[in-house]
């Protein structure tokens, strides 16, 4: 590592998103966007997550088109295994009738899993390629080309997922209980007395809001931490060995588990929203 490029810089470089924004001089990138405020876009997060989402839909749609009721091919059997697994979990937990919960769960599970699996791509490969492309074709400083390839380490993405789920929680709460029923649930629990309405409201609102926040922060925290450890490991040893290997093996467990937890909690929250007390 060059002297002007320290380990801290290396880590920071890996943990910075590629940003795009519009300024007075037109479209600007990265450091030029420091003052862009809210209207800045993490193009790497967007590109990778949408790319992986399209990959997921492409794989599953092509399987769905070729789906036969006869003897399935191996690919179809695998896709059906995933679908059946999600369906089983939805049925075990969610007892109402809903056309959206099962496909929502499938989307969350597979999409989050695919994004999490980006964590297993060695941390230097994609930023290096991006830096080479940036410096070769656009004449940029490679240290100013950012590429954070794991979309779930971006709070924007995890919060987007959680807010989507939160909207559905609100929608189902109001659809199942009506506006008045939902308000009653917020104000008359756990202490069913008019005098406790403000206390109840504060308690229940915190409970309600804690759900999407915990969903988003859990996924973000786990993935950000594991990515950070990968980056730290990358600064040690000989070509990241031997520490990289056990940590990656460990993540074969952690990454699907996080995707599964996100899906399960979504189902649980929605089934809670649909239940009358």
């Amino acid at each position: 590592m060059a002297s002007e490029y320290s380990t801290t810089d290396y880590i920071n470089h890996h943990l910075t998103n590629a940003v795009m924004c519009t300024t007075e001089n037109g479209i600007a990138f990265n450091k030029a966007c420091k003052d862009a405020g809210f209207w800045a876009w993490h193009v790497d997060t967007l590109a990778w997550s949408i790319g992986l989402g399209v990959l997921f839909l492409w794989i599953f749609t092509s399987a769905a088109k070729k789906a036969t009721t006869g003897v399935p091919t191996k690919g179809q059997a695998f896709i059906e295994l995933v679908v059946d697994f999600v369906n089983q979990n939805v049925r075990d937990t969610f007892h109402g009738k809903s056309a959206i919960i099962a496909p929502l769960s499938l989307t969350i599970f597979v999409w989050v899993l695919l994004m999490n699996l980006m964590d297993l791509v060695p941390v230097d490969i994609l930023p290096t390629i991006a830096g080479l492309i940036g410096s070769t074709f656009f004449g940029m400083d490679p240290h100013d080309v950012y590429m954070k390839a794991v979309p779930t380490t971006d709070l924007n993405l995890t919060f987007a997922l959680a807010i989507g789920v939160f909207f559905l929680i609100l929608y189902y709460s109001i659809k199942m209980k009506g506006v008045s029923g939902f308000m009653k649930e917020l104000t008359l629990q756990p202490f069913n007395h008019p005098a406790f309405i403000p206390v109840n409201f504060i308690l229940e609102s915190v409970t309600l809001l804690a759900r999407p926040v915990s969903l988003a922060l859990r996924l973000f925290g786990n993935l950000y931490a594991s990515e950070l450890i990968f980056i730290l490991i990358a600064t040690l040893g000989f070509f990241q060995l031997p520490l990289h290997f056990p940590w990656a093996v460990f993540h074969i467990l952690v990454l699907p588990l996080q995707a599964f937890i996100f899906m399960m909690l979504t189902i649980v929250y929605l089934s809670l929203a649909c239940e009358d007390h």
Binding site: L15, N17, T107, L155, N156, A160
Partner: protein, 156 residues
């Protein structure tokens, strides 16, 4: 790591993905799975039914075989009985025939004997009359002595 417009983009992407999954991915896949499950269930049921049918058929066959065997045994039994009966009857009939023939023969013999006796008696009487004629050597009115001759014949 700050919240920015990416959030909105991701939210839209998420909604579109879920919508697409709901429209084009989930229903055909789950439909195929459920239809196959139904097919398999039907197949299992059919095979179970076939097995039961087979068992029933086998039981029926066994029953019919038993019946047929019993019937055959009965027929053989009857035939044997009938045969012995026929033999008995024929024997009896033979006996009766024999008896009848013997009796007939006996009666014929008896009649023949009686006839011969009669003839003999007549001839003896004629002979006796002739003898007497010769012995007396004289004309005897046959008619006057007829009663004596008849008496003689009666005594023979």
């Amino acid at each position: 790591m700050n919240i920015n417009a990416t959030l909105i983009g991701q939210l839209i992407a998420f909604a579109v993905f879920v919508w697409f999954c709901m429209k084009h991915v989930w229903p055909p896949l789950l439909g195929a799975i459920e239809e196959r499950q139904k097919k398999i269930a039907d197949g299992l049921e059919a095979s179970e039914k076939a097995e039961k049918d087979l068992e029933e058929a086998q039981a029926q066959v066994a029953e019919q075989l038993k019946d047929a065997k019993a019937q055959a045994a009965e027929i053989i039994d009857q035939a044997k009985k009938r045969a012995s009966q026929i033999v008995d009857e024929e024997t009896q009939r033979g006996h009766a025939e024999r008896e009848k023939i013997i009796a007939q023969g006996n009666a014929e013999i008896e009649a023949e004997r009686n006839r011969a006796k009669e003839e003999l008696r007549k001839q003896v009487s004629a002979l006796a009359v002739a003898g007497a004629e010769k012995i007396l050597a004289r004309e005897i009115d046959e008619k006057a002595q007829a009663d004596i001759v008849a008496k003689l014949v009666e005594e023979l």
